[in-house]
């Protein structure tokens, strides 16, 4: 009899336990492990006397309580520090900031927005979500009210971001906070010692040859590249290389093109480069790990997000700063496009849309950049989205090694033209549809297995091609 009772209890207990796991995340807190290409290095607090911000007259007419969920990148942490400034300008808005590590907050934001649960009023979203959320009617048009305010200087925002964050109706649904593209970092001293010169606009072939020459496994690796599985980790540089080689993820009918001649050549190039001349810890290296290797002098080159430039150019944070060179993102058939921004979106269900708009306007305005510069230093400024930042003498002085280069790279990005051949999606270093997360994750896992030496590239290419087609079928694209 005891047995019967036992079994029944077990049935219930176990059933409920695992069912719980099916609905909620099986482990609670997420980690600072990064899942998107937008993680930024800690910026240095190098204050320089820039133009002081225009004082905003307090506006007590706007009231309400705002819940804002943000990714805990340094730029957002700086915003948190400046909360008193916001309260001064809007004394009657009660601002609650939730700043959490990326993986955790992403999952929460995605769930809150898609179920319209109304936990948050303002959320940070990325590039590929903006258009889709707008289409679903989950977020508000922020472009119209922002562009009507002359102080906001709407046209100062780089058009690439406006285009990427707009819905199909052409309206802006998320205001960019800071942005980035990609570039090539290299060690000038090692290049000089080996008698090499980095061209202004290197090709991937150049990069491969440099890596070969400079690869001395006991001292420095030829190149550091991400290969930590994840659509936003390994997936970002890989996709930008695929596109540069003339490949693409899908053709216009959503048939997988990963095994096409161009894509396969790009994937082989990337994996071979890492296997032969890359860091041995590649499959566990994301943005942060690669950055560490480069800063520790273990890598002769590193291709990654432009947001690393702030740290790499700072002698206090990078012992190699004086020897760090900055070069244009490598090209092959076309440039390796890359464009990412964290942007503030207002949820449709908010009860305090005026307050929400006031916050978005405050945080993404030209004036805010000046506020950060004067309070915290140019190193913590949200850069990459406004032309005025790159025209500011204060920022130019702070970022003299790279600001012009970054500016020219970002201005050259066009998120609607990723590839040589036409594609049915937007986005440069990712496939701009929300379901891409699953595909990007599993494809990069498979390719990491090649880099680890556990699988042959040709087998993997067949597998990822099948995965992509299966994914397109499952999600109703094919």
């Amino acid at each position: 009899m005891d047995r019967t009772i036992n079994r029944r209890t077990v049935l219930k207990g176990a059933g409920a336990l695992a069912a719980g796991a099916a609905v909620v995340s099986p482990f609670g807190a997420a980690l600072a492990q990064d899942a998107s290409p937008a993680a930024s290095p800690a910026a240095s607090p190098m204050a320089s006397p820039g133009a002081s911000p225009v004082a905003i007259a307090p506006d007590p007419s706007i009231t309400g309580e705002l819940n804002v969920a943000m990714v805990a990148n340094p730029q957002m942490v700086a915003l948190q520090k400046l909360q008193p400034q916001f309260q001064e300008a809007y004394p009657n808005i009660k601002l609650n900031l939730l700043v959490l590590p990326e993986n955790e907050v992403r999952d929460r934001i995605r769930t809150d927005v898609s179920t319209q649960a109304g936990q948050f009023d303002v959320v940070t979203i990325g590039m590929f979500e903006a258009a889709d959320y707008a289409k679903q009617g989950w977020t508000m048009d922020v472009g119209t009210p922002l562009s009507s305010d002359p102080n906001y200087d709407y046209n100062d925002i780089f058009p690439a971001f406006v285009s990427a964050l707009s819905g199909e109706d052409g309206k802006l649904y998320a205001a960019p906070f800071y942005g980035e593209s990609s570039m090539l970092y290299y060690r000038k001293d090692l290049f000089e010692a080996a008698g090499l010169t980095m061209p202004d606009k290197p090709t991937w072939d150049d990069v491969g040859n440099f890596a070969k020459t400079l690869h001395k496994p006991d001292e420095t690796y030829g190149i550091a590249l991400r290969a930590l599985p994840g659509w936003g980790e390994f997936g970002a540089p890989l996709t930008s290389v695929i596109n540069a080689f003339g490949g693409r993820w899908f053709d216009e009918d959503w048939k997988s093109q990963l095994a096409s001649e161009e894509s396969a050549a790009a994937i082989k190039f990337y994996t071979d480069l890492l296997i032969n001349y890359g860091q041995p810890s590649a499959t566990t290296s994301g943005f942060t790990e690669c950055e560490n290797l480069f800063v520790q002098g273990k890598a002769a080159m590193w291709y990654d997000a432009t947001s690393a430039a702030d740290l790499l150019g700072d002698p206090q944070l990078n012992p190699q700063a004086a020897n760090t060179g900055f070069a244009y993102q490598p090209m092959e058939k076309i440039g390796s496009g890359w464009l990412w921004a964290w942007a503030f979106a207002v949820e449709k269900g908010t009860q305090h849309s005026d307050a929400a708009l006031a916050f978005v306007k405050w945080a993404t305005s030209k004036n805010y950049v000046q506020t950060v510069a004067s309070q915290l230093g140019w190193g913590q400024v949200p850069s990459g989205v406004r032309a005025s930042t790159y025209a500011d003498p204060g920022y130019k002085e702070y970022a003299k090694g790279f600001s012009d280069l970054v500016l020219s790279i970002i201005q050259a990005q066009d998120p609607t033209k990723c590839c040589v051949d036409p594609v049915p999606y937007k986005g440069l270093q990712f496939v701009g549809v929300p379901e891409f997360v699953t595909l990007g994750d599993s494809v990069t896992k498979e390719l990491a297995n090649v880099i680890a030496g556990n699988e042959k590239i040709d087998d993997a290419l067949g597998k990822i091609d099948e995965m992509a087609n299966q994914w397109a079928q499952d999600n109703g694209y094919q």
Partner: protein, 320 residues
């Protein structure tokens, strides 16, 4: 009653104790009601919701495509088990779960036994050693895994590789790339061996010192003593350790999340991690729920089996 027969014991007649249950029943029911309702809300409701969700093709990002597809999610999972290509990585995750759980439990038990035998003897500094041995279990799992990844196993900055180079063995393997499963098992064992030690130590300390003394008087060597007295006595404690260990280890995801993200390939994706990838990262609520339910079914089978063992073991010790 059948269980008694199964246990090979004669049924013993007992004098029935007569209690008027009616007197207590009403009050009793009210008293357990809060706990019962709580249990119902936090365990059974989600279970029913998961059952319902599992019949949908439902990606949170695409509400317009939400559609009832009956048992298609389950058919997909079964096809993943049987098809060569394993499109949903379900078979790989199942195999990994078994590999991780079995090997981590067995190795932890053996190591835990050695630890316990060590600190069961008196020697100077025993308390310090005991504390140090338990420490891995008290470290936050995520912090522990980060330490393993960055401080121990990293081929550039890790201690293991540094030791190997210093001793002129050359570079060691790139742990998390070349030996991903083994690396995860090492992390799991590091964390769970102390747990086994605690259980087995409790067992060792419950051995009557007189028995040991008698053995020594009869000329038993320490090895004889360990094999002849300690081990048989610990048998039940090892069963308990194996049961609890597998319940905990089967749901380990922290180490995987922090170090390999389930890769390379699907070599370190276990079932809970796959459910997380599907339901939370991929927003595929329907398929995630279906996976969760299949995991439930498998867990129930394993748990029932293991609980029977524990049941038998307790009965054998304390009678029925």
């Amino acid at each position: 009653m059948a269980s008694n027969v199964r246990l090979g014991q004669a049924e013993t007649a007992q004098a029935p104790v007569i209690v008027d249950t009616r007197r207590y029943s009403t009050v009793g029911r009210w008293l357990v009601a809060p706990a019962f309702i709580y249990l119902l809300v936090v365990t059974q409701l989600p279970f029913i919701v998961a059952l319902y969700d599992s019949t949908f093709r439902w990606n949170l990002m695409r509400p317009e495509r939400k559609k009832n597809i009956g048992l298609q999610n389950f058919r997909d999972l079964i096809s993943s088990l049987t098809k060569d290509s394993d499109p949903y990585a379900f078979r790989a995750a199942l195999i990994n779960s078994v590999i991780f759980t079995v090997s981590a439990v067995v190795i932890s038990l053996v190591l835990g036994l050695l630890y316990a035998e060590l600190v069961n003897h008196r020697f100077p500094g025993r308390n310090v050693v005991r504390t140090m041995l338990i420490t891995p279990f008290l470290v936050m799992p995520v912090a522990g895994a980060l330490g393993w990844k960055n401080l121990m196993m990293d081929p550039d900055f890790g201690v293991i590789d540094w030791v190997m180079r210093t001793l002129h063995f050359g570079h060691g393997p790139v742990w998390l790339a070349h030996l991903p499963r083994q690396s995860i098992i090492i992390m799991l064992v590091w964390r769970w061996a102390p747990f086994m030690m605690l259980i087995l130590l409790a067992g060792m300390q419950s051995i009557d010192e007189e028995v040991r003394e008698a053995a020594r008087v009869d000329g038993a060597t320490p090895l004889n003593e360990f094999i002849g007295i300690t081990l048989p006595h610990l048998y039940r404690f090892m069963q308990l350790g194996a049961l609890l260990g597998s319940v905990y280890i089967v749901q380990e995801t922290d180490a995987i999340f922090v170090t390999t993200q389930g890769g390379p390939g699907t070599l370190t994706t276990n079932l809970p991690y796959l459910v997380y990838e599907t339901a939370v990262r991929g927003s595929q609520v329907g398929r995630g729920a279906a996976m969760g339910l299949v995991v439930v079914a498998l867990t129930i089978i394993t748990m029932t089996f293991l609980l029977r063992i524990m049941d038998r073991m307790l009965r054998a010790q304390y009678g029925s």
